[in-house]
């Protein structure tokens, strides 16, 4: 993609002028494993490490394999690996040169819950070391695990916020029974709104049950996309 105007600065570098320097600081994990099936896990990682002239490559490869709990399968051909294991090898390839920014394209798609949990533990550990992770996902519950979420529609960012603030954009439905009659009231999804509504209701003895139906992140995003579509149609 060629820029038409403006300037971009990534880690103090110009992506056009310092393309190769910048590639050294960026890691990329594609959606498909993009590995050589007829090479071992270790050889795959070392091959991508050599592209970045990584020093002590073998030592760092072993450390990466240990980090992703693949040491015992290091010398096995990738062809014999499960989908989840291939994803972990792919992650090692993206991280072997210790990048400052990592792009992960649907890293937990089609993997089992245990591995998903393990992957998120890894991502969190990486983030703690100062690495910035960009993670693309269609799984909204997973997006909530990030520090910041950007919602994209037709290549444009339509919302950029913390998961808490995004959730707060939704509405919560409060269902309650009063004198045997089912009632409902809609409020903002904040603890303060809940307190306000309860104050209004007085929480008297007649209120025998309260349940909350907060908006899910999926419904919030769908509302945003709908609003965006409507505003585009109006224009």
């Amino acid at each position: 993609m060629k820029p038409t105007k403006g300037q971009v600065n990534v880690l103090g570098l110009d992506p056009l002028r310092d393309k190769w320097k910048l590639r050294n600081k960026i890691g990329y994990m594609p959606q498909s494993p993009a590995l050589y099936d007829d090479l071992s896990a270790k050889n795959n990682i070392m091959f991508f490490g050599e592209a970045q002239n990584v020093s002590d490559l073998e030592k760092k490869t072993d450390a990466m394999l240990a980090f992703t709990e693949l040491t015992s399968r290091a010398n096995d051909l990738v062809r014999s690996f499960s989908g989840g294991m291939k994803k972990r090898v792919s992650l090692c390839c993206a991280l072997i040169h210790q990048p400052r920014i990592v792009f992960l394209d649907e890293p937990t798609a089609a993997i089992d819950p245990h591995l998903k949990l393990q992957s998120w533990k890894l991502f969190r550990e990486l983030a703690k070391t100062g690495v910035t992770l960009f993670l693309s996902t269609h799984l909204m519950d997973e997006a909530l695990l990030c520090d910041e979420v950007a919602i994209l529609s037709n290549g444009q960012i339509i919302a950029l916020d913390t998961p808490q603030k995004l959730l707060a954009r939704g509405k919560t439905i409060l269902n309650y029974s009063e004198n045997g009659e089912s009632k409902q009231c809609t409020m903002d999804s904040t603890p303060e709104s809940l307190a306000r509504v309860l104050h209004q209701l007085g929480l008297n003895q007649n209120i025998t049950a309260i349940s909350l139906n907060p908006s899910t992140i999926e419904s919030i995003v769908l509302d945003m996309l709908r609003e965006k579509e409507e505003s585009t149609n109006k224009q």
């Binding site: 190769w20 590639r23 993009a34 007829d38 050889n43 050599e50 592209a51 970045q52 051909l77």
Partner: protein
Amino acid sequence: MKTFTIAKRILKQLQGDKKYLTLSIIAPLIIIYFLKLFFDSFPPTVPISTFTIPIGALIVHFLSFLLCAILVVQERTRGTLERMLIGGYRRPSIIGGYTIGYLGLATIQATAVLFESLWLFNLDYTGQILFLLFMVIWLLAIVSVMLGIFVSTFAQNEGHVFPFIPLIILPSIFLTGLIIDSDTLPDWAAFIGKCLPLHYAVNIIRELIKPEYTFQNTLIDFAVLLGYIFLLWILASFTLKDTTS
């Protein structure tokens, strides 16, 4: 340096894929044997020796071109080519690495084809001529590998490589002087033949097997083959695409 890393990886992959490796070496040997059966049915007046080595060169040319084109397309569809480019490998290094890596296989193919032809057809040449014959087939194999990489740019999947066979390989059989002298063809057909690398390889081989061979007679043809390598390397470096879109 990174060129050799890629070449090393390709050699490791070839080493790991025994079935592919065996087939790539055995297939040309079987074809040469069929060629022997075919030529045995000819009357003894037909100068078979002028066809044998050029056809051997065609087999190496065809196989190197086809296998390399398919493998580069596979790299692209699997996403490893994109990953290599994002990861810091540059296009000229990738092409160089591929060429060196597959050259190992092409060297084995060229040697096997040459020696089987000599044995089956009872051909006898001096050591120097044998070395030069090997060099021609070897140079043609490099051209074929680069041509394969270049052609892979126009293919979105492995199946898209096959239409290039009638476009590149079949005209090579009919228009390059392999079967009939290209000077007897209409000018336009002879011109197409002269654009194909096999034409120059066939010219050199035919000169080499003449008793009065002198290196000067083949100098231009050798230079053209080297020029092809340089030109295709540049072209492929500019056109090699990382994604299928």
